[in-house]
Symmetry: C2
Subunit: 263 residues, 2 copies
Amino acid sequence: MLVVKIGGGDSINLDGIARDLSTVEGPKVIVHGANALRDRLARRLGVEKRILTSVSGYTSVYSDAELIDVMLLAYAGLGNKRIVESFQAHGVNAVGLTGLDGALVRGMRNKGIRVRENGKTRIMRDLSGKPVAVNRKLLGLLLDNDFVPVVTVPIIDERNVAINSENDDIVALLSAALAPKLVVQLIEAPGFLEDENDPSSVVAHIPREDLARREREATGRMKRKLLAIRRLVASGSTRVVIADGRSEHPVADVMAGKGTVIG
Amino acid sequence: MLVVKIGGGDSINLDGIARDLSTVEGPKVIVHGANALRDRLARRLGVEKRILTSVSGYTSVYSDAELIDVMLLAYAGLGNKRIVESFQAHGVNAVGLTGLDGALVRGMRNKGIRVRENGKTRIMRDLSGKPVAVNRKLLGLLLDNDFVPVVTVPIIDERNVAINSENDDIVALLSAALAPKLVVQLIEAPGFLEDENDPSSVVAHIPREDLARREREATGRMKRKLLAIRRLVASGSTRVVIADGRSEHPVADVMAGKGTVIG
């Protein structure tokens, strides 16, 4: 079992990933983002994106109903289906799904995010939450019949409402359910960088016991990603590789030892 | 087996359809449009929609790559997933799919549409085509396990490219594969109207042998719909009902005998 998380940046080589995956035997699950597409679409539609930073330093997008609409347009619509199209073109029998479809990824809505505003702490509640359960029946049906699920947000909350969630948390949950040997995280960098401004500073290996420290030192989205990865490698014998999604052969590069190996 | 085509108008009562369908036993397949959403989105994005009228009088949307993008945003994204969300809220275990997913609906790209322009006939070729084959394996897997496929365009052509297609043709193809007893067409009118400007002129019954004449007399989208319905009822013992998707109980109304029965 292989799980591949494809980052949502514009320079990710989707076609190269599809080509590489067509040569990898065995069951696979894909989780993808579409943040660049979402941001571009939101700008064109005049929808404002608001970033919250929690008191503990994690950033997230404030998701109101309008932003969920934009997410459905960008992630579930254009982003997901162009990936499915590219996979199909390379002979990978992809089926695109959100967490809503067949209630594939059930979540619990966040009670609220504690933010500091003008020197005061307030609780902001939005349409976001944590994934807590996977519909194994649907996932199993697809995997047992050689389909490749291509999964993205939104997920479905306890009241059957579409909510935003971190794709990295979905990867962690799917991995707990599927126990993949390998989880590949394809991002817009050659791996985890010692110095985020120096692409040559790739850390070849992060032992499990260093993750908490790395997470404390990281900022922005990488901080959140490392939190999700720490949970992921804590749960079992899964190896995680963070690698470059922009290269000519993003997945083949991982198999050849490139990127940052975690665990 | 029940097939329901949900029209893509803004005044369709999606929630009422979901509620009604939660009380209907047995396997169901949904096909839906999203043309009002697409048109609104295209306007907001400044994407122009071009309507072609073929020399034989059928109208269609000229689909270039940009319009397929808008279709993926509107049909596959926002439209499909809000329907899935509403179905899930009513306990109907919907799985939203386009024809791309698992190559569910394979099409053949149109060779070109013959149009008259400035007194001359030209061939216009775009990203559109006819659905020709259904992936019965995927459809069967879902139906046998009590999932409700919610299907929309685009479909996938012989070269694995996303193309536009008529949802009514997809309904006809799915019906040929599934042999449903009943196909319900929910539109923004109380049924097929003798006079399209008079909502009280619902035709209660159109016998199979009258369809060719009705089709000749119809204009615009209804002409195309009747062509698809004629093929559909010609193929078997399927009954088609055209009914009002805007009412409080669109599907229950059909079961109670409202709308236009064809066949």
